[in-house]
């Protein structure tokens, strides 16, 4: 039974659904792009510079590390570009060039590659990098200071800063921000983090296409909302209501694009819900009680840390004995 034709032989299964890493990353890029474009329109050429530099340098670092580690070149899978874009989206438009390059270096090298590359990172690379920048150069991530030379048609105070110092400001200062204005992006913030509407639409696209799981963003937002309501009910003069917390700062981009990072988030349903709720809760806790103006960065790092433990909550395998 020797055949003349050489056939390809391998083990089952012989079909694949066709989904791939590259497709996934490019779709997330696509979903994030509208919010980034609106940011570029609002903040002008400096924002375009930051976005371009962040994406380009992230790809450059990735390529450099691939060469250094003698691994196959993984630039083409789109993940480095995605990290670059998401990193730029949370930066102020006037971020100095060196800080952008250092930031992407931290994200790609320390955040992703030293752990073994895509899929092995315990923390979200973007959040890890932003956290390091926030601690090292706090002034660079102070939106009011960085965007002082812009002339906006809307209130140019960073909403979360107003929320943080409500007790010291005149009563009603926080009421200047309406939910609709925040949703449309009429607020100060990161390049791609201000226009809530487009971030939500991008997130919904990703959920419908199955690239992110609805459990994480929804529970994250529920966590933020519930905790904010509790604080607001306890002391309405000191703590802002849920709308401010949900629609300003990094909340939406965090819920839809950062907390949902595959490698650092759980895969089972109950852990995903707990992960999101905990992230939302920690966000508002840090904002209202902690030292930082925005709590999303450290909240996401904290839930990333809890992820392996949370993911141990899983259904029992069918047929398992003892």
């Amino acid at each position: 039974m020797i055949s003349q034709k050489k056939l390809i032989v391998s083990h089952a299964p012989f079909l694949h659904c066709g989904a791939g890493i590259t497709e996934r990353n490019y779709n997330i890029l696509l979903a994030a792009l509208p919010a980034a474009l609106v940011g570029i329109l609002r903040f002008g050429i400096p924002a375009l510079g930051v976005v371009s530099l962040a994406i380009a340098s992230a790809i450059g670092w990735e390529y450099l590390f691939n060469r250094m580690a003698k691994r196959s070149i993984s630039v083409g899978d789109g993940n480095a570009a995605l990290i670059g874009l998401l990193f730029a989206m949370v930066l102020p438009a006037t971020m100095p060039w060196w800080a952008v390059i250092v930031g992407t270096l931290i994200a790609i090298f320390i955040g992703k590659q030293i752990f073994g590359g895509l899929g092995s990172n315990p923390f979200n690379p973007v959040m890890l990098s932003i956290a390091i920048l926030m601690v090292s150069w706090p002034a660079l991530l102070d939106f009011d200071g960085m965007l002082v030379n812009y002339d906006f048609s809307f209130d140019a105070m960073y909403p979360l800063k107003v929320a943080k110092h409500m007790a010291d400001l005149s009563p009603g200062a926080i009421d200047r921000y309406t939910a609709w204005n925040l949703l449309l992006g009429n607020q100060v913030g990161g390049i791609g983090a201000t226009c809530g509407l487009l971030i939500i639409l991008g997130g919904i696209y990703l959920i419908l296409r199955g690239f992110i799981r609805w459990e994480i963003p929804v529970s994250f937002l529920v966590g933020v909302g519930l905790t904010a309501v509790c604080f607001n009910m306890a002391d309405a003069n000191n703590y802002a209501g849920p709308a401010i917390h949900l629609l300003s700062g990094y909340t939406l981009i965090g819920a839809f694009f950062l907390a949902t990072d595959d490698a650092s988030s759980p895969v089972n349903t109950i852990p995903m819900l707990l992960y999101g709720l905990l992230g939302g809760f920690m966000t508002v806790m840090i904002r209202n009680i902690g030292a930082y103006v925005d709590g999303v960065v450290f909240a996401i790092l904290l839930i990333n840390l809890a992820n392996p433990l949370l993911d141990k909550i899983r259904p029992r395998a069918i047929g398992k004995v003892a």
């Binding site: 039974m1 020797i2 055949s3 034709k5 050489k6 056939l7 390809i8 032989v9 391998s10 083990h11 089952a12 299964p13 012989f14 079909l15 694949h16 659904c17 066709g18 989904a19 791939g20 890493i21 996934r24 073994g116 590359g117 895509l118 899929g119 092995s120 959920i207 419908l208 296409r209 199955g210 690239f211 799981r213 609805w214 595959d262 490698a263 988030s265 759980p266 895969v267 089972n268 993911d311 899983r314 259904p315 029992r316 395998a317 069918i318 047929g319 398992k320 004995v321």
Partner: protein, 427 residues
Amino acid sequence: MKGKSFFGLIKPQIVYPSTATAASDFKRMPAPNRATFLIRDDWDKTDKAPLKVGDVIKTGQKLIVSVDPSAYAVSSITGTVSDISPFSGDSGQNFTAVTIDASGEETPDNSWEAAAEQATLETAAEYLDALPGAPGLARFLKSEHGIHTLVVLCADKDMLVGTQQHVLTSQSEALKSGIRILKEITGIDQLFLAVPKDRVQGYGSLGAEVKAIDQKYPSARPRLVMKDVLGTVVPMGKTTEEMGVAFFSAEAVAAIGTAYETKKLPTKKTLTIIRKDGRRSLLETDLGTPIQKVLATLGETLNEKDRLILGGPMTGSAIYSDLHPVCPDTDAIMVQDHSDISFVSDADCINCGECVRACPVNIPVNMLVRFLAAGSYEDAANLYDLYTCIECGLCTYVCISKIPIAQYIRLGKHELDRAKAAEETND
């Protein structure tokens, strides 16, 4: 061939096909001029050898290759033995391949006619185990086999295959007598007919209780039928027989029925051919027909670097040669064009969780595959449920990193079994 839907939130539902469309072009192939039979036994080459090159074989004659046979085949043609050689099958199973050249005229073998007068388990096991569908009656010969329930599976275990469903519609009379005889010879009265949900109506007269099985792959796999239909979970490491349930394919039972009704051994096998362009054809051919001939009948071409698969796309096995014969348990033949073959990659797991959500038995595949890739098979088995895997292949089908998860799982089980065997010999 089968892709992810645009909206991924809707889980990729892989549904067993209905055979209604495929059955319309049902073909019957003429008898082949050469047939090969694979017998899972070692060939005895001594003078006492029961089978030699040059022997004349009649249609329906049992083929035995050793003095103390552990398996046999039934010839589907009349002719002379032209070749006997060893053959190595999937996962190193040893077979003896017996090739028979047809003589042109058909002479039936009568030994079964006498044996069929009285239906007993012993004679049935002696003659019928190599019939289409591979009944496996030898399971009942062991004393204290503990089997108390029979299940006739009228659904196909793999996706895209429609063989058993076709047998259910086209051979229901034979199925009915097969069920009656099976109950009689085994003495087991509890017999269920497991039928796809959409075809549950109209089979009440076959003499067995009809149970519906879900149409979503892999619900027709015996372990899941046990869980969902019979309500018994088969613990890992145990077979369904050890839990007291014996599964038969519809074709096997129909063949038993035909053998007793006509006093002749049936040797026609129903096949589903899954073609390169995704079309499926149903066809009936003699056991032992080379696959080459089956494909030629349909006008299907097989080129260099294509893939030829015995069985369905999720659990079948790829073979080296198109001269491989149609065997009693070959329910489907699949041909894949070189350009359609999806290759695996060496990318790491990105922890997306698609596999975990696809797994029918709740294995944390994302963790399991990390341990398997690192070679920590013991931990994979103890901490992450390696042995509960039913090898349906769904995790590999949905894997975004294109990791060969199913292959890792088979390797892990194989290595652990080998280590265990080595330990036992050391003791």
